[in-house]
């Protein structure tokens, strides 16, 4: 995060894309475009006519290089005051307040190098996808870093950004995408179908050309605990593991 105050600004919703049965992407055009790093988040603020305000943090899904708009992927939580509003009420053309970029820890740039291990659970894949999209842009400019993303989702249909990640897996050198479906079997042989454990972590680490130098884990608290503990049990030092927990 840069020095000094990060200001609130107005952002206009320019597009809404249904990603999974419970997750929509919101593309926001920024009045004052900012530079950010993969893994950072923004706060959004909604204001009711009586002055009541609700604020939530959402990770940025777009690549840092994206320009004047950002993508946020928001899961609809049944009791979510803000996520329900975003899913059910917001339409393109609406304006919301945005503040960012925020967060100076859960960040990665291609210059930080690798190998990089990304472990995402559910919508926790959002900041990790920003990193992979960043890598894709860097790939085009000639840099390669070995990156493996393990995405844990309940079902094939709930795997956020699945098709894009499958595509990247085919066309990006150095990038490996592994899917872990906890409630149904995957069609792909290299995928898993159970809760993340030390054996799974050790298995994916072996698919990288060397031990991961940076590990990013994001998801629900239960997922992050299981994934981070699995990474530790697979011999990855604690200080290389950064976590971000969703929920609450």
């Amino acid at each position: 995060m840069s020095e000094g105050s990060v200001r609130w600004q107005t952002a206009t919703v320019i597009d809404i894309v249904v990603r999974t049965p419970r997750i929509k992407s919101f593309f926001l055009s920024l009045e004052h475009p900012f530079e950010f790093q993969a893994g950072q988040h923004v706060d959004i603020r909604l204001t009711a006519p009586d002055g009541y305000q609700a604020m939530r943090s959402y990770s940025i899904a777009s690549a840092p290089d994206h320009g004047t708009s950002i993508e946020l992927a928001v899961e609809r939580l049944d009791d979510g005051e803000v996520s329900m509003f975003m899913h059910d009420v917001i339409v393109p053309g609406d304006e919301i307040e945005v503040r960012g970029p925020l967060g100076g820890h859960f960040i990665w740039s291609v210059t930080d190098g690798g190998p990089l291990l990304l472990l995402g659970g559910g919508s926790g894949v959002v900041p990790l996808v920003s990193m992979v999209r960043h890598l894709k842009a860097a790939n085009l400019a000639g840099s390669t870093v070995p990156v493996l993303l393990l995405l844990s989702a309940r079902t094939w249909d709930e795997a956020l950004f699945r098709d894009e990640l499958l595509e990247f897996n085919k066309e990006m050198s150095g990038f490996t995408f592994v899917l872990n479906l906890t409630r149904e079997a995957s069609a792909r042989g290299q995928d898993f179908g159970r809760r993340i454990d030390a054996a799974m972590a050790a298995d994916v680490v072996k698919r990288l050309p060397g031990p991961p130098v940076h590990v990013f884990v994001c998801g629900s608290n239960a997922f992050v605990n299981a994934a981070a503990d699995s990474a530790l049990a697979a011999g990855i030092p604690a200080e290389t593991i950064r976590t971000e927990r969703y929920g609450g």
Binding site: A48, S57, E97, T243
Partner: protein, 201 residues
């Protein structure tokens, strides 16, 4: 402030609004946030050290620390990620009682709290005196590791990142030194009522 089209928010409990700082919402669960894996610290390995600058003044084992006077506090807590939780019940050792047990008075106005995982955060001594404790129990149970157990700092009137989890010591410093999140753009003080979330707020 521009009104957001179509947003009314949840029905508000006005009797509680005086207890919820601006930008915060009420949370019934207890969300977990941390920068890395959850450290699992064995009681046998637990120590707490009071330092003045680089110099350790006193170190307690778990048994010794638990022999210090215990105090119970019921407080509202406020996380910078916008949740607030009311009437949380804690038990632990007041920072005042720790200093008393070490037979020292605060030698500087600044304190850095240190944790087993390398985390640190700064809190002025005047925000610890009479207000803060090293908490060992939450809701009548030993503090679990997700929430910073065996022991965490509790500074309930500041944003909760100041209440360092997995605490292993307090250090008096000559100057107000930024800790982990403060170095990464968060506010040096963190008053929820003034919405001091990020540097410059």
């Amino acid at each position: 402030m521009a009104t957001t089209r179509g947003f009314t928010g949840r029905p508000r409990a006005t009797d509680l609004s005086s207890r919820i700082p601006p930008g915060q919402h009420l949370e019934k669960d207890f969300p977990v946030l941390s920068a890395g894996p959850t450290p699992r610290i064995r009681i046998a390995d637990w120590t707490f050290t009071l330092k003045v600058g680089p110099r350790p003044v006193k170190t307690w084992s778990w048994t010794e620390f638990n022999a210090l006077p215990m105090t119970q506090m019921t407080r509202d807590i406020h996380c910078v990620t916008t949740w607030s939780k009311l009437d949380t019940v804690w038990e632990g050792v007041l920072v005042d009682d720790i200093l008393k047990a070490a037979s020292i008075e605060a030698p500087t106005p600044y304190v850095l709290a240190h944790s087993f995982d390398g985390y640190s955060t700064n809190v002025p001594m005047q925000d610890l005196a009479g207000k803060a404790m090293v908490a060992l129990r939450f809701g009548g149970e030993p503090l679990d590791s997700d929430h910073g157990g065996p022991a965490r700092l509790l500074v309930p009137h500041l944003y909760f990142w100041k209440s360092a989890k997995w605490l292993n010591g307090l250090q008096f410093t000559e100057r107000d030194e930024a800790g982990f999140w403060e170095l990464r753009g968060y506010h040096m003080y963190g008053d929820p009522w003034r919405e001091q979330r990020y540097s410059g707020d």
